[in-house]
């Protein structure tokens, strides 16, 4: 059936594509309020609309619907979702067992480690290790380590800022850490986005991880540089006293007069109870009664001692479980056993829970479902677009754009279009990189296959996929719809979105570096 000179199937595919991008752009620009209809829900709604559109159109032209409903169900792939679920199980077990606590403690000890009076790591080494730790450990969602190690990042940031007398260093360390965390879900073996590309293109397991990690390390450095010299959060000439005062006002502290000396005390964190009255945080005018002070000091000593003895066991368990996790991960990558990653992760999670004496309930409380929902929304819309022929239309449009010429010279060419395609996630950053990764990866794969045919070079496909995935993984950092950057910005009390530019600069570099590493270093092992 032809309408306005176009096949009905083409029109439906084009409509599906337009609807998809309209929802994305409308959400980014605020036309779809996120508190009423979050992006994931909007995409699921769009899935139903597109599917209904396809079935109605198939009544007029049977060539529109090429797949039966049963076949469609049969095409559903559950491996990425189960891998992600297993990854979160393992991450939850690690958290409850205290592994992330141990990681933060290890950083502190490394900073102080000396041999014959010479600091081995010192602050610079510790900072570099901290900023890259999310990619080294690589959890299925960057927010896991972003939240777990944020206190360490803030602490080191302020320490370095005070030592160097440069307030910009706080933003440098915190946001370089955050962009590293944002991107870390790409190379993660625990259900990371990279596994999507490896499965789709039938690449060896974790073959896209090393190039991504290389790119992310570069991204981290670039973000740090931009944060210091281009978009600093605090002016470099900010006086130390002003900086200290600003930080004191922001933090929740109690000020007590003790023998005429002002003493800054941090509130002792108490175990949360079901209902509890909490006194107002700042009451500098209230002085504790002298008769109460010794009791308070004793209680504090006892509770700190108790806390320390509890912490010691927890830290020990944390170190053991973290070490176990790293060893199993390393062995999996080296030996490449013929066991599905889900099985390895589930068994690992069970062992960690036994060693760390973690309860199932606490584990379940720590599982984050948002990335799973985001990825599912992406898969659903991708399925709907595939059903409607949206990806076929996308390929036609991309090829048309690539072959567009002025005076015989291509404007973008296939390379230019490929560069734009792989950077779409950062151009339209979603709160979870998995949304666009799952939704657009079939399109990227189709374009990659077309490029392989044109260039007669099989390496082009993994290059395109790897670059797209690292870009998608990192894109959640600068997202205005609730990116990881917001965690750092909120904690530092700066304007939301102020770290976006530095992160985007880093991500652009990371995308290019990942592509180069695959093309010239690791690509030969993939094809």
């Amino acid at each position: 059936m032809v309408i306005f000179g176009m096949e009905l199937a083409f029109i439906i595919g084009l409509a599906a594509l337009i609807l998809f991008f309209t929802v994305i752009v409308a959400s980014l620009l605020g036309f779809i309020p996120q508190d009423r209809l979050p992006i994931q829900s909007a995409l699921v709604l769009m899935t139903f609309i597109i599917t209904a559109m396809v079935f109605i159109a198939s009544l007029f032209d049977s060539s529109v619907l090429q797949i039966g409903f049963v076949d469609l169900i049969g095409m559903i792939i559950i491996h990425p979702i189960t891998a992600l679920a297993a990854g979160f199980l393992a991450a939850g077990a690690l958290e409850v067992a205290g592994a992330f606590d141990a990681a933060a403690d290890a950083l502190t000890r490394l900073e102080q480690l000396k041999i014959r009076g010479v600091a081995i790591f010192g602050i610079p080494g510790t900072v570099v290790l901290l900023m890259n730790m999310p990619t080294i450990i690589a959890m299925p969602c960057g927010r896991i380590l972003a939240a777990a190690l944020m206190p360490a990042a803030l602490g080191l940031g302020y320490k370095v800022a005070r030592r160097l007398g440069d307030p910009r260093m706080v933003g440098v360390i915190v946001f370089a850490f955050i962009v590293n965390a944002a991107a870390s879900c790409g190379p993660s073996v625990l259900g990371g986005i990279g596994l999507l590309g490896e499965g789709l293109a039938k690449l060896p397991l974790t073959s896209l991880s090393d190039p991504q990690q290389t790119g992310i390390i570069i991204c981290t450095g670039v973000c740090a540089l931009v944060m210091k010299f281009v978009t600093p959060l605090f002016p470099a000439d900010m006086k130390k006293e002003e900086f200290e005062k600003e930080k004191e006002e922001e933090e929740t502290i109690e000020v007590a007069n003790d023998g005429g000396q002002k003493e800054m005390k941090v509130k002792v964190k108490e175990e949360p109870e079901e209902t509890k009255e909490v006194k107002a945080e700042k009451r500098p005018e209230e002085k504790p009664k002298p008769s109460e002070e010794p009791k308070k000091t004793e209680e504090k000593k006892e509770s700190i001692f108790k806390r320390m003895s509890r912490m010691e066991t927890r830290l020990k368990n944390g170190y053991i479980t973290l070490g176990l996790f790293m060893i199993v991960l390393a062995l999996t990558l080296i030996l490449q056993p013929k066991i599905p990653i889900q099985t390895i992760l589930v068994v690992l999670a069970l062992i960690i829970m036994l060693v760390g004496r973690a309860s199932i309930q606490d584990l379940m409380a720590g599982v984050i479902l948002h990335p799973i929902m985001a990825m599912s929304a992406g898969f659903l819309i991708a399925g709907a677009m595939g059903l409607a022929g949206g990806f076929d239309v996308l390929l036609i449009l991309l090829r048309g754009l690539a072959e567009l010429k002025i005076a015989g010279f291509p404007i973008l060419g296939y390379l230019g279009v490929a560069i734009i395609l792989v950077n779409i996630p950062t151009i339209m950053p979603m709160p979870c990189g998995r949304i666009l990764a799952a939704a657009l990866i079939p399109g990227v794969w189709i374009y990659g296959e077309a490029l392989v045919e044109i260039t007669d070079n099989a390496i082009v496909l993994p290059v395109l996929l790897g670059a797209f995935i690292v870009n998608a993984a990192a894109s959640c950092g600068p997202s205005p719809l609730g990116g990881i950057g917001g965690i750092g910005e909120g904690n530092m009390g700066v304007e939301i979105g102020s770290s976006g530019k530095s992160q985007q600069c880093g991500i652009l570099l990371a995308t290019g570096v990942t592509a180069l590493v695959i093309a010239f270093v690791t690509g030969a092992t993939m094809i």
Partner: protein
């Protein structure tokens, strides 16, 4: 192969359980209230660069319940960012194990500030 299949089925079942728990937390929380503060997680003295809540993947908050009490809870960074939750947002708190988990309330009107 059979063991792998069982693991996959178990994971799907576990996903289903997590989903039900999340729905319960969203639609039938034990306590409803409003976020009044995101607790500071940072130790300004930084003698050992250790902060409060370190090692936890969730962030500590203070909630004023509908009956006027103030309680401590924790919220995942994902929920906070993706749901656009901030000071003044209405949330539900559910006790899971020994943890008080905050989740966005499924009250569409006036959901978040």
């Amino acid at each position: 192969m059979i063991a792998d299949g069982l693991v996959i089925m178990a994971l799907l079942g576990l996903l289903g359980i997590f989903f039900i728990i999340q729905l319960k937390m969203m639609f039938f929380p034990q306590i409803k209230g409003e976020i009044i503060e995101f607790e500071s997680i940072f130790d300004p003295d930084c003698k050992s660069c250790r902060g409060k809540n370190e090692g936890k993947t969730s962030l500590p908050i203070k909630v004023k319940t509908d009956d006027g009490k103030i309680i401590s809870a924790e919220i995942s960074a994902c929920t906070m960012c993706i749901e656009g939750i901030g000071i003044g947002s209405r949330i539900g708190v559910t006790k899971v194990g020994s943890r008080h988990i905050a989740q966005a309330c499924a009250n569409i009107r006036g959901r978040n500030n």
